[in-house]
Every structure is written in C-alpha cells, then in structure tokens.
Symmetry: C2
Subunit: 457 residues, 2 copies
Amino acid sequence: MSDPSPEVVEQLRQLLGEKGVRIQPDEVMPDVVLKPESTEQVSAILKICSAAGQALVPLGGKTGLANGHFQTDSELGLSLERMNAIEDLDAANRTMTVQAGCILQTAAEAAEAEELLLPLDFGARGSATLGGCLATNAGGNMVIRYGMARDMVLGLEVVLADGTVVTSMNKMLKNNTGYDLKQWFIGAEGTLGVITRVVMRLRPHPRSQNTALLAVDDFDSVGKLLRWLDGHTAGTLSAFEVMWPQYYEFITREGSAHRAPLPHGSAYYVLVETLGSNPEADAESFEMVLGEAMEQGLVSDAVLTRSQSERNAIWEIRDDVLELFKLGPMIPFDVSVTIEKMESFVNEIRTGMNKWDAPICIVLGHVGDSNLHVILGNENPEEFEYDALETLLYETVERYQGSVSAEHGVGLSKRAHLHRSRSEAELQLMIGMKKMLDPNNILNPNKIFSADKISAA
Amino acid sequence: MSDPSPEVVEQLRQLLGEKGVRIQPDEVMPDVVLKPESTEQVSAILKICSAAGQALVPLGGKTGLANGHFQTDSELGLSLERMNAIEDLDAANRTMTVQAGCILQTAAEAAEAEELLLPLDFGARGSATLGGCLATNAGGNMVIRYGMARDMVLGLEVVLADGTVVTSMNKMLKNNTGYDLKQWFIGAEGTLGVITRVVMRLRPHPRSQNTALLAVDDFDSVGKLLRWLDGHTAGTLSAFEVMWPQYYEFITREGSAHRAPLPHGSAYYVLVETLGSNPEADAESFEMVLGEAMEQGLVSDAVLTRSQSERNAIWEIRDDVLELFKLGPMIPFDVSVTIEKMESFVNEIRTGMNKWDAPICIVLGHVGDSNLHVILGNENPEEFEYDALETLLYETVERYQGSVSAEHGVGLSKRAHLHRSRSEAELQLMIGMKKMLDPNNILNPNKIFSADKISAA
C-alpha cells in the first residue's frame, strides 16, 4: 500500500485546520493523524476517505494490548483526543454523557465527585479513552460485579464508514425499540464505525471496601471458595483474583519491592474484595464469611487489610506483572476457560512447557470471570520460541473450548487464532456485517480479519 | 397473501412427521404450526421455507404484549415447544444451557434447586419460554439489580433465514473474540434468526429478602429516595416500583380483594425490595436505611413486611393490573422516560386526558429502570378513542425523548410509532441488517418494520 495521496491529505487539512492534522514524517510514529473536534468533522473526514478509498485507524489512548491501534504508513490515524468533553453528568438519572476521547480516569473522577461510580477500572486508566474502552469492550478488575464495558453503556453515537452519523444516545435503562444497534459497535475494535459519544450508566459509589489475601490448598477449594463468597456477600464481591504460586512467590521474593503478606508455599493465593455501603457492618460480615470459609477448610491462611495502604500493597502485588519480564523474554496471554477446566488446562500447558529447559510459565487471573493471564517464555533468550509458545497455548485453549481473547480483543495479534474460538459460520456472519457496514474496508482494515479474508468471503 | 402451498406443507410434514405439524383449520387459531424437535429440524425447515419464500413466525409461549407472535393465514408458526430440555446446569461455572422452548419458570426452578438464581421474572413466567424472553429482551421485576434478559445471556445458538446454524454457546463471562453476534439476535423479535439454544449466567440464590411499602409526599422525594436506597443497600436493591395514588387507591378500594397496607391519600406509594445473603443483618440494615430516609423526610409512612404472606400481599397489589379493566375500556402502555422528566411527563398526559369526560389515567412503573406503565382509557365506552389515546401518549413520549417501548418490544403494536424513539439513520441501519440476514423477508415479516418499509429502503 502506498502513502495517503497528498490531495486527500490537503483536503483534510482544509477541513480540519492546522490544529486538526498532525504530520510526523519520521520512521517510528505514524505519519498522519487527524484530530477532529466534532462529530460533524468525523463525518466529513469519513466522507472524504470513503470517496478516496483511504483507510483510517481510529485511535483512543493507544493502550490496547492486541495491536488494534497499529497504524501503517498507508493509513491515516483518526484520534478523538480533542473530543474529550464530559457533556453531561446527570446525578438524578445516574448517567454521564461523554465524548469518546475523554480519558477513563477523568470520567471516573467526575462521577466520583457526585458520589457515583463509573465501574470500569484497569491499569491504563490514565491514558485509555472511553471510546477505546467501548471499541474494545474493556474488562478489568470489577467485571465479576459490574460486567464489561458493554454492560455499562446505555447510548452511543457512531459515524459509519460513509460518514452517516447514527445518534443513539439513549439514557434509559430499558429501551426495546427495535434492534439494539449500539451492541454492534461495542467490541468491534473500530472496524464497523467510529464511536464519537457515549452515555454511560453510573452506580452508587461504594462506602466500604474490604480486601483480603487468602491462601488456598487446592484448585477444587478455589472453585468452592468463589461460590461460597459470591453466595454470602449479596452481590458485593467485586474481585476474585487468583495468583498461582510461581507468580506470587516471584513478585514477593527476597529483595523485591513487595513484602509477602502470606508465607510462600501455598498452592494458590486469592485476592478478594467486596464493595459495600455500610463500613462497620460490612467489615464484620466480611470477616465472618471468611472465618466460615476457613472453618470449612476452603482457606488455609488469610490476611485482612486494615488500612488503605495495606490494601494497596496487596493490589500492587497482583498488578506488578511487568516485574516478570526480569525473568526473561515472555509472552503474556489473555484467555478464558470455564472454571471447572482451569486446573487441568494449566497442567497441560505446564506439561507442554517441559520440552524446554528453563521454561517460564506463570499464571494469574480474574478467575471469577473465567479469565486467565498466562505468561510463557524462557529464561534463556536463545530458547525463546515465540511461535511455538503461541501454538502451544492457543491449541490448548482450542481443545478446552476456551476463548483466545478474554478481554484484550483481537486486533492484529490474535487474528490468526480467531478460528480456534469461533466457528466458520460465526466468522462468515461477522464478515458479512463488516462488508455491509464498511464495503470499501476503510475502517481499521486488517484488524480482527485480514483484508484477504474479507475479499475472499 | 395466500395460504401456504400444499406442496410446502407436505414437504414439511415429511420432514417433521405427524407429531411435528399441527394443522388447525378453524377461523380463530393459526392454520399450521411446525414443531421441530432439534436444531437440525429448524435448519431444514428454514431451508425449505427459504427456497419457497414461505414466511414463518417463531413462537415461544405467546405471552408477548406487542403482538410480535401474531400469525396470519399465509404464515407458518414455528413453535419450539418440543425443544424444551435443560441440557446442562453447571453449578461450578454457574451457567445453564437450555433449549429455547424451555419455560422460564421451569428453568428458574432448576436453578433454584442448585441454590442458584436465574434472575429473570415476570407475570407470564409459567408460559413464557427462554427463547421468547431473549427474542424480546424481556425485563420484569428485578431489572434494576440484574438487568434485562440480554444481560444474563452468555451464549446462544441461532438458525438464520437460509438454514445456516450459528452456534455460539459461550459459557465464559469474558470473551472478546470478534463481534459479539449474539447481541444481534437478542431483542430482534425473531426477525433476524430463530434462537434454538441459550447459555444463561446464573447468580447465587439470595438468602434474605426485605420488602416494604412506603408512602412518599412528592416526586422529587421519589427520585431522592431511589438514590438514597440504591446508595445505601450496596447493590442489593432489586425492586423500586412506584404506584401513583389512582392505581393504589383503586386496587385497594373498599370491597376489593386487597387490604390497603398504608392509608389512602399519599402522593406516591413505593414498593422496595432488597435481596441479600444474611437474613438477620440485612433485615436490620434495611430497617435502619428506611428509618434514615424517614428522618430525612423522603418517606412519610412505611410498612415493612414480616412474613412471606405479607410480602405477597404487597406484590399482589402491584401486580393486579388486570383489575383496572373493571373501570372501562383502556390501553396499557409500556414506555420509558428519564426520572427527572417523569413528573412533568405524567402531568402533561393528565392534562391531555382532560378533554374527555370520565377519563381513565393510571400510572405505575419500574421507576428505578425509567419504565412507566401508563394506562389510558375512558369509563364511558362510547368515549373510548383508541387512536387519540395512542397519539396523545406517544406524541408526549416523543417530546420527552422517551422510548415507545421499554420492555415489551415493537411487534405489530408499536411499529407505527417506532420513528418517535428512533432516528431515520437508526431505522435505516436496522433495515440494512434485516435485509442482510433475511433477504426474502421470511422471518416474522411485518414485525418491527412493515414489509413496505423494508422494500422501500
């Protein structure tokens, strides 16, 4: 593919003005990024690009983990960074109306100021945009309680490939008037339309938070513990994060930045958290429910946090995934399998890793959401075989009827493995949708599906 | 349109056998209803009908309230009543896999036997099927806490108009592998495909239930009360049902089947309920939170139920909508408006009703979900003007940017008013989807969109 035609770029510059086009003619950064300031400008851009057959990559905070925002020289970037206003925060109705370029953390803080919660949170909160969160159907740390990004969207505005603006800014919890077309665009990774504005449902901000780190002796007990806690915390369970010992023990090893709140040597470490509304009663009930779990033998050891700093210390252990890279080259995978298959799935991966010397195989995950992060690599860079590791992992996922992408999406990174989690009939149906909504394949082409695959369908 | 061709019916009879075709050649019931017993049979039926251009109406329990299951003489019914098995109830994973013809209540009871909750409940639970619930995205009495039917679906199998079977029976909470195509079919009222099997997410069964009927003096306090309760019950608030006094006072009038738990004369009556996990602590906290609401002046009088029979008595008042028909001919409407506009919306409808003598104007609703049921009519049958009432109501909904269908769907009943809640761009996009997935318009034709509208697009 060749660079964008100078005529098209000139037309866009006239439309958007100097501030609206960033041109960076270096080797590393994408060449041209458009920065519209209104839905009308997004529409005008798409009309021009549609007529010229010019491909575009919609850009949020570029924090995605599947290369869904990767931009080639022949593509134009379409950044919504200037469309970042919080247009409305309706405390009575508990909704917020936000432009797609608004940073997640900014939106969350605005909600918090009204004692409301935007219940979407993950590490990249300070850079990720709401538009990007919706385009990738982001997950994160509270999915077990509040769902994925999709589950908190009430309304949405999207610009189609041909420039048509579809405004569907519903603010009501119930609205069954025809097809729920916002769902088509959420999680579509910018391949079906450009999300420009959204209405998010807000929740009451929690007034209490209880956190514990638990040691568990076997995986059967992990599953039972999940059911026990979920059944006895009235829907307030907001995190059930499991660390396999290889993770926990490395992150809290002698000389690391983290103190180990529980001794090494257990089979599993589980971080649990509830979000409630009555600090005193919730703390008491949390302790009681965990005490009963210990009596039943589901938990062998426990630390309950007594302060925000103790809580942070435990979450920092859970979140310090980057520390692992000190071990050697590795690939972090984001997959799902149902909980009853998890133990055997992990064992099979471990067995598969035995063919290498010094393999790295580390597992942790949002087990309450069926979501595992599996990190595979090799301490010896010479023995690090990217393709073989990918094949081992994804073939096992396929055999376990799991998902090759739990929360990160497909982008470029998982395109080749999509068929392991989706049947031919499903893929054909998706491609039909893509062809209907973007007949010239100008919206984030080659993401999710390669252009070849689309033209062959 | 003419009757189905005898050749097509004969072909289908050979496919399905005697038990699989019900022919009722009378004036009232539909003539031909097909009763497949497997997904393969549904697929074969659709292939035959697709080739012959024969229209079909997918049928669940036929309890829909928008005439989405209405079948003309020229259409074949496609009932999934024989596909009613619970294929799998996975307690560890907290999911159930069910054939679409399974009755909602049957599924709910199976979940309950495992101490799990299928959190979908409404009056027609004993007849409605899971397939119908999903096709209409059913709502009901616990939406504020658990969402609509859509929000509890993890996986789905659907047969397309051309007979293609698309099996997408995901059991995992997180799965971002390409477009979430199950969403396309949920709420599409059988116009895009026939849902044959589903995977539902189950929740822990509640261990406590607290219910109260509250009197509130003004609508501003209703809104504040909702926020207060939701903010102080940690997400356990499962019902916030408001009865305007005309409803409450008629249903509990002297000589009716219901005793009035609170005296007449208040501005609003609010039924609130929480579902928790600790009977003793939850009862105490419920009473405390309501007590504080009274101290703040949000509630002027309250009755807390102390037994299941007291609870039932209050819900029976809320649910006895049929009793209203004693007043005269009327139309029950199901609409949404955001909470801050509700009072003025209702006032405007009331003012509009003043042009008639003896008007009936009764309002109640799932106010926590923005959903109002407005019942309009006239005590004098001579003065009952169907069209004028519809116009008054839907024009007002349109002016308030509400939804002409909150939870009942569009079917035939609301087709003419869909444009009041959806823009031309939205409607065109929906029709594009319909044409892509059902090019011959054989799946529940004329529902949501008239055939004219589709062919004109």
